[in-house]
């Protein structure tokens, strides 16, 4: 039996609960859904996981909200805050570390004026670090969304970021 819907007290700013529910409908979230895959799909569609989405997933999968939240907070990939249109994943892996990866991070951070886990005020970029993106042979490297960039120098980073700002 479905429980009575709980009154939505979420503080999700600018999130339309109806839109969230529409996405869950479209993805067919139900009792048989695989929790992590479904959260990945929802995040892919919404860009992040607002409280309304977590609540909706919990109700439809009948997985307690506490467990849903437990999973979301365990994995680095899930975001419970809105973040920029493009996600920059700057590699902090070993190969990149020994070839100046920290410097690359510093350059990105300086240009965009944000630190790790932050979004630019124009909501264009979100910056985070990852353990390795498997492009160690072109270290230092970074991913912007699904596009990988290697052999980064401060100059190259600047050009790449500009190309996104123009788009």
């Amino acid at each position: 039996m479905m429980r009575e819907p709980v009154e939505d007290t979420s503080t999700d700013q600018g999130v339309d609960p109806a839109e969230v529910m529409a996405v869950l409908d479209e993805l067919g979230v139900g009792p048989d859904s695989d929790l992590i895959s479904i959260l990945q799909d929802v995040q892919e569609r919404l860009g992040w996981l607002p409280a309304a989405a977590l609540r909706g997933v919990s109700e439809r999968t009948r997985i307690p909200l506490s467990r849903v939240y437990g999973v979301v907070s365990f994995y680095a990939q899930f975001y419970t805050e809105p973040h920029g249109k493009h996600t920059i994943r700057c590699c902090r892996g070993t190969a990149c570390h020994v070839r100046g990866g920290q410097r690359v991070f510093g350059v990105i951070s300086d240009i965009l004026g944000i630190g790790e886990g932050e979004t630019t005020p124009d909501m264009l970029f979100y910056l985070e670090t990852v353990a390795c993106i498997g492009t160690c042979f072109l270290a230092p490297a970074m991913l912007i969304d699904d596009q990988c960039y290697g052999e980064l120098t401060p100059k190259r980073v600047e050009t790449i970021l500009e190309s996104y700002q123009v788009k």
Binding site: D34, L35, I36, S37, L39, Q40, I63, R67, G70, V71, F74, Y75, A76, Q77, F78, R89, C91, R92, G93, T94, A95, C96, H97, V98, R99, G100, R103, V130, A131, C132, I133, G134, T135, C136, F137, L138, A139, A141, L143, D146, C148, Y149, G150, E151, P154
Partner: protein, 623 residues
């Protein structure tokens, strides 16, 4: 593609598809790893040239997986002549087609060179000459998105043989006899693992392919899934048949979008062709595979954590036993193998155990793929027989250290491994020999370090990594690594004391003994191995207040060696804080120590190695 209804269908299809066409030129562009440097634009430009010159039918541009020599990205191979071009850009497309494809001439500018000599032929390049490509034989050759191309090159032959001619026990016996050991790190004999899973009670069993590849600096599994995904699927089919599983999972890390894309394509096309699903190739065996994406947690590479993650839970490891072979996914018998292990399986079945075992060492058979990265000239993917030496890998194949600097150590096995110093360059590498010297094979990440790499910084780097990736379930790992990180951090900041070194050893041994899973049990390895081989560097930090490699900013002073400085001004431009002045021409560079942040950009920029750190061993100029 047509459905493959019987095992004979597969053979017929292979014959039909693999008719040689000697007059056809095939341009093989790495479109996976090299995508980071614009490989897709190169493909498009070549396609456009081929179309505009009406060469369709005679010239084919194929988007292939990794060629291995990633230092030459974007890398292009032109067959049948086997010409290798490096650093290709879209602008080179016209010249490649006009000069090489039509004119039969070499474009020297694009050729690999060794000792000032160009080497146009791929097989003549030292990087390739010293390798033994068995598992990687089709990577960089076939179009990973095409099942036809894979079948033409022999894919699913091993599965066909196993399913139609061998009993599950015979398959296991073959794998046991081959001596194949798990490539995911621990080196556990694969046949034994399969035996356990087969013997376990239960009707429903699972096979999982571990493609989490969490070790930073490793990209072998990525390249295999991107470049030859059907090989991995084939290994899974054989494994599933051997243990009696009907369902399989591939757990791929989310940071590998191309690997995910190619795996999904391969699964779809294999299913469509009847190579997955019900009654595979008419043999009566049913098996299918689903893909699951990781969500950014290193610990999920550990098998019990990985299972928890597939079950939709927090990826926390649990104590073993029970082992997954008896109680794994949904508490059912589950076999977990690494990507590369599974990619070896078809070789074992097709060639037979005896031939497979003829490569490698007594206790470690076959080949190993290494991901060569760091301060080495020829970064890339390398496959060598087990028992090859570090010198062969780093110098013969890898072309030595960047800018002719000195080899200091090779970090092997990632956060669970250790740093192998120069004294072991000629030590044959296999599972057991590495363990003896305090490193591990790990998955095959091999990061080369030179004298500008600080070993204390590396130890701190790995400790920070495992500390942030610790799942927090057990105390030694959660708190122990934090204490180690604090000690290492204060050493790199210049606030350490001599006793700290012994504290690290004691703490490390304790964490090793008492942690719950492999993450904690191996977390101290990078620290212990660097203390074992580079204790003097720790001492320099705590006693002399000096970071000999010039990495730890608080302990490094950069100065210009006047006798080496050519006053070229490159460092002046490169310095991000304008700490270097050159006055007029012919006046040597000077570093303003008040402004200098010791970032090291100038040292990396200088072509004459004229920027040195004070206290470096060969530093005579600093008074």
């Amino acid at each position: 593609m047509k459905r493959i209804e019987t095992v004979d269908d597969l053979g017929r299809m292979r014959e039909a598809l693999s008719v040689p066409r000697p007059d056809e030129v095939v341009i093989r562009v790495c479109s996976t790893g090299c995508r980071a440097l614009g490989a897709l634009a190169v493909c498009d430009a070549l396609d456009a040239e081929v179309a505009s010159r009406d060469l369709g039918g005679r010239v084919r541009v194929v988007r292939v997986g990794c060629h291995g020599l990633c230092a030459g990205a974007v890398a292009v191979l032109i067959d049948p002549k086997g010409i290798f071009y490096k650093n290709v850009t879209p602008d080179d497309a016209g010249e490649i087609i006009a000069q090489t494809v039509i004119g039969g001439e070499i474009v020297e500018r694009l050729c690999w060179s060794e000792d000032g000599q160009i080497v146009p032929q791929r097989d003549e390049i030292a990087f390739y000459k010293h390798q033994r490509k068995l598992v990687l034989q089709n990577c960089g050759v076939i179009a990973p998105a095409s099942l036809e191309d894979a079948v033409a090159h022999g894919a699913y032959q091993g599965a066909a043989k196993a399913l139609s001619e061998m009993s599950p026990d015979a398959v296991i016996a073959e794998v046991l006899e081959s001596g194949l050991r798990g490539r995911g790190g621990a080196g556990f004999p694969t046949g034994r693992k399969w035996q356990f899973a087969r013997a376990a009670a239960g009707d429903e069993k699972y096979i999982i392919c571990n493609a989490d590849e969490g070790d930073p600096g490793a990209f072998m599994d990525r390249a295999l899934l991107e470049g030859d995904p059907h090989l991995v699927l084939e290994g899974m089919i054989v494994g599933a048949y051997a243990i009696g599983a009907a369902q399989g999972y591939i757990y791929v890390r989310a940071e590998y979008p191309i690997a995910i894309e190619h795996t999904i394509l391969a699964l779809e096309s294999a299913r469509e062709a009847g190579l997955l699903g019900e009654n595979i190739m008419g043999t009566g065996f049913d098996f299918d595979i689903e893909i699951r994406q990781g969500a950014g947690a290193f610990v999920c590479g550990e098998e019990t954590a990985l299972i928890a993650s597939i079950e939709g839970k927090r990826g926390m490891p649990r104590p073993r036993p029970p082992f997954p072979a008896n109680s794994g996914l949904q508490d059912r018998p589950t076999n977990i193998n690494n990507v590369e292990t599974l990619a070896n399986v078809p070789l074992v079945i097709v060639r037979g155990a005896a031939e497979y075992a003829s490569t490698g060492t007594e206790a470690s058979r076959g080949t190993k793929i290494f991901a060569l990265a760091g301060k080495v000239n020829n970064t890339g993917l390398v496959e060598v027989p087990m028992g090859a030496t570090l010198r062969q890998i780093v110098f013969d194949i890898g072309g030595g250290i960047l800018r002719g600097r000195k080899f200091k150590a090779a970090q092997m096995g990632g956060p669970s491994g250790g740093c192998v110093p120069a004294e072991f360059l000629d030590h044959p590498i296999d599972y057991d020999s590495l363990q003896e010297i305090g490193a591990i094979m790990g998955s095959g990440g091999l990061i080369v370090m030179d004298e500008t790499t600080c070993m204390v910084d590396i130890a701190r780097f790995f400790t920070e990594f495992v500390q942030s990736e610790s799942c927090g379930k057990c105390v030694p790992c959660r708190i122990g690594t934090k204490r180690m990180l604090e000690i290492l951090t204060r050493i790199t900041l210049g606030a350490g004391e001599l006793e700290d070194i012994d504290r690290l050893v004691k703490l490390g041994e304790m964490i090793r003994e008492s942690s719950l899973c492999g993450l904690g049990q191996t977390a101290p390895n990078p620290v212990l191995s660097t203390i074992r081989y580079f204790r003097d560097e720790y001492v320099a930090h705590v006693v002399d207040g000096n970071c000999p490699a010039g990495v730890c900013k608080a302990l490094a002073t950069f100065v210009v060696a006047p006798e080496l400085c050519k006053a070229c001004g490159l460092c002046v431009k490169a310095c991000p804080v304008d700490a270097i002045s050159d006055g007029a021409k012919k006046i040597l560079a000077l570093i303003d120590q008040d402004k200098c942040t010791a970032c090291g950009v100038c040292r990396d920029t200088c072509k004459f190695d004229a920027i040195i750190t004070s206290g470096a061993p060969d530093d005579q100029t600093n008074g």
